[in-house]
């Protein structure tokens, strides 16, 4: 319970100002497509050079927490996920916004982020040493199987047909092979200099989600806009809290999956939201409502991606191994002040590390308060005429894809993928499984190749991937996940008859 004694450090004037500034700034950065949590934290680090270690880390912690939640704003209102973590939020969140329930969707998203986030940070506070041991158990074959579990989700992700979902996933996986492969040392599918570094996930995300919308909005013409006036409904905050707490199953699934996925080095929060969304759907009696603006979808996705924040710091703080790109950036923020993570971190630097973790707790609460405040204003975005909206979204898409690494190549990739997606959508394919393929492809591939290499010095590939308790558990989940998808497909067909 040591952490309680270090709250004093958080409630000083400077700390609170940094916390509030970091939270509001983080929400805005997170809501801007292209400015991911990793990038926000990286940009802030030079500013912490001149601060005391405590103040610097408070700023970084607050910004990390709130950028992850802020990504939901553009996901819900514009259907552009601010970062891969927010992809699942678009599925039901944006549908709600289109029905005029944007305020409700944002409130639900910030409240579930708060609950998931608090749970994650409490895990970090109370169970760090135990969790570090668990994180160490996840080795190459297990990360491979986790990626495969993600692949099994692809087919059932969007309401359409399983086959088209899987095909979209395949396209995504193929896109992921483009570029220079570091393990085998060969170039793959580099048709244009812009592809040398492969397809960068953020520009791809922006293109796949934003461009089809822009084209649709422009093609509708300017005369229809007046007819499509959406009534933006006000939504009382108390009702939003009641709604979140009445969806206990979705909340628990999101928080649980987010915490576990966050812990595993190399998987990161990118797929936590999608896995949680899929599981919440599979275990819900109201499966058919998912994708049509169902509150459970938003709650599961957003509680998952914020629950992952706390545990994602465990491998970094105890093992000194950053488990995600954002954690790697935070490591830089720690060592600049001469603080080396490790098992003795909490003994050697309690006066720095506890205020940092405490500030993440307070940061979650501030994030929820400010988030709900902007929700009521931001929901009016739905009333903006389509022609204006199309221009704004296009502008954001161009800005966001360029901002990632100041590269025109990324803008071309964004535009080409987006245009392709517009036509694919007309044939019933969808963006979310495609992006999931793009994310999971490299994780599965690199771990399989590394694993096979390691296996060649041991008992062979089959034994390497199929023996051991954790392998068998994960393979069983793969089998179960496929089985459940098939089962629901079959039962759905039978009820149709």
């Amino acid at each position: 319970m040591d952490f309680i004694f270090y709250f004093g450090e958080v409630f000083t004037l400077t700390s609170m100002l940094l916390l509030i500034g970091g939270t509001i700034g983080g929400l805005i950065m997170g809501a801007t497509p292209g400015l991911s949590p990793t990038m926000t934290v990286a940009l802030l680090i030079p500013f912490t050079f001149n601060m005391t270690p405590v103040h610097g880390l408070i700023l970084l912690g607050a910004a990390y927490t709130s950028t992850v939640a802020g990504g939901a704003v553009s996901a819900i209102l514009l259907k552009i996920p601010g970062a891969p973590a927010n992809i699942a939020t678009t599925l039901d969140g944006h549908t709600m916004a289109k029905k005029g329930e944007g305020a409700k969707a944002l409130q639900l998203s910030f409240i579930s982020s708060l609950i998931g986030g608090l749970f994650g940070v409490f895990l970090l506070i109370f169970l760090t040493p135990e969790l570090a041991k668990l994180a160490n158990e996840f080795k190459t074959p297990h990360v491979f199987w986790l990626a495969i579990i993600g692949v099994t989700v692809i087919g059932s992700l969007e309401a359409g047909s399983v086959v088209k979902g899987l095909l979209s996933g395949c396209i995504g996986m193929w896109l992921a092979t483009i570029g220079f492969d570091d393990i085998q040392g060969v170039k793959r599918f580099v048709f244009h200099p812009a592809l040398g570094g492969g397809v960068n996930i953020i520009p791809a995300l922006i293109g796949l989600f934003a461009i089809p919308q822009v084209i649709t909005m422009f093609s509708k013409g300017r005369f229809q806009t007046d007819m499509e006036q959406i009534q933006v409904k006000k939504h009382p905050i108390a009702a939003a809290f009641r709604e979140v707490f009445s969806r206990k199953r979705a909340l628990a699934i999101g928080t649980g999956i987010g915490s576990i996925i966050g812990l595993i080095p190399g998987v990161g929060g990118q797929i936590a939201g999608l896995l949680a969304y899929d599981q919440a759907k599979k275990f819900s009696p109201e499966k058919a409502k998912f994708g049509t603006g169902h509150s459970e979808g938003v709650i599961a996705a957003e509680s998952a991606n914020n629950a992952m924040v706390g545990p994602s710091l465990v491998p970094l703080l105890i093992l000194s191994i950053p488990g995600s790109p954002t954690a790697a950036v935070l490591l830089g923020g720690l060592v600049i002040h001469g603080i080396f993570p490790g098992p003795n971190l909490f003994i050697e630097y309690p006066e720095v590390i506890w205020p940092f973790i405490n500030s993440m707790l307070i940061g979650q609460i501030l994030m929820c308060i400010f988030g709900i405040y902007i929700a009521s204003l931001a929901a009016r975005v739905a009333q903006v005429p389509q022609s204006v909206m199309a221009a704004v979204v296009l502008g954001l898409a161009l800005f966001g894809s360029y901002a990632v690494q100041q590269s025109m190549g990324d803008v071309y990739v964004m535009a080409v993928l987006g245009t392709m997606m517009y036509f694919l959508e007309r044939f019933g394919f969808s963006a979310a499984p495609l992006v999931l393929g793009l994310i999971l492809g490299p994780i599965a591939e690199s771990n399989f190749v590394s694993g096979s290499l390691m296996a060649s010095a041991q008992d062979g590939t089959f034994a390497f991937f199929f023996t051991g308790g954790l392998n068998i558990l994960l393979v069983s989940i793969v089998v179960l996940s496929i089985g459940l998808s098939l089962w629901s497909e079959i039962t759905a067909k039978e009820t149709e008859r």
Partner: protein, 318 residues
């Protein structure tokens, strides 16, 4: 956001700048071919802190990141597209870019760039898990001799410092070991060692130093000519009878594209080493466990030329 503001500021100043003013009359960009927050990016940000001082460049340095394909994306861009007017500098990592250019498939070589100065040197070290039975390089070599191809060891990728060190160790000991490149870079390679997935690994001295302090690994040898100030107790490979020199040491510094005016190169070559030597830089680098080695333009030119020869010989027939 900061980069965007810097870019805006640069373009505005470019328009209003007087034609006769002395270089630099506007902020200078520094392209880093690795992601924001990585070791190279992080050190570059520290090394350029004093740039705005009147006795240094007198203008701030703004970092832009062009990561991808182990640095190839950034260096290709730097060789093909960067302006050679002195307002775009680039970070180099040796032996990475030289090894890549020898291996082929990229648009640059040592002839594409003009070095300015070197700020850091991060030697590769051989690490094993804290419970490993290996306590010296001799133990590692003995195991590899008895079990050809069975000694798995991790590193950050192909044709980077870690891989070069791995090749040199194998060649010096006359053994065949199994190098496992890690897609997640040095951090992923270190995780494989800590969790006992591989029997050993090559990693950065700075990261290994931290991990050893955290008590998760043992460091068996340094692939450099001398012992390192951060690890005075760890012997070099040479001391342990392995003929491994400093070819794999990761040298970091700044360069400009070929064709940059000589006056600009001279000005940079005179001021940049002094900037790296600034006490604030030294203090932050030391706190972060990043070994510094400041070298002037002539020393870097000589180092590049030497690496070119050694690496060509090492990578021949691979």
């Amino acid at each position: 956001m900061k980069k965007i503001i810097a870019a805006l500021a640069i373009s505005l100043m470019g328009m209003s700048g007087a034609a006769q003013a002395e270089y630099p009359e506007r902020p200078v960009l520094l392209m880093i071919p690795y992601g924001a927050g990585g070791a190279t990016d992080f050190q570059a940000r520290i090394a350029t802190i004093p740039a705005g001082n009147e006795d240094m460049l007198g203008m701030p340095v703004a970092i832009i990141n062009k990561p991808g394909a182990g640095g190839r994306v950034g260096w290709n861009w730097f060789a093909n597209e960067a302006d050679n007017d002195g307002y775009t500098m680039g970070g180099y990592n040796v032996p990475h870019f030289i090894a890549q250019s020898i291996k082929g498939g990229v648009d640059y070589s040592t002839d594409s760039f003009e070095p300015i100065a070197n700020w850091g040197s991060d030697p590769a070290v051989f690490v094993v898990g804290k419970d490993s039975a290996f306590n010296s390089m001799a133990d590692v070599v003995a195991f590899a001799k008895a079990n050809p191809g069975k000694l798995t060891f991790s590193g950050a990728g192909l044709f980077v410092g870690h891989h070069i060190a791995a090749l040199q160790i194998e060649k010096a000991a006359g053994v065949k070991m199994l190098y496992i490149p890690n897609k997640s870079g040095g951090a992923g390679a270190m995780k494989a060692v800590v969790s006992g997935e591989v029997l050993g690994g090559v990693n950065n001295l700075s990261d290994a130093f931290r991990a050893q302090a955290a008590g998760t690994i043992k460091i068996l040898g340094v692939a450099d000519l001398e012992r390192n100030a951060f690890l005075p107790d760890v012997p070099t490979m040479m001391e342990q009878g392995l003929d491994v020199d400093d070819t794999s040491v990761n040298f970091r510094g700044v360069m400009v594209p070929k064709g940059t005016p000589q006056a600009v190169i001279d000005k940079l070559a005179a001021t940049v080493p002094a900037m790296f030597a600034h006490k604030r830089v030294a203090q932050k680098m030391k706190a972060g466990g990043s070994p510094m080695k400041i070298m002037n333009r002539d020393e870097v030119l000589a180092m590049w030329a030497k690496r070119q020869v050694t690496l060509e010989a090492l990578l021949k027939g691979l």
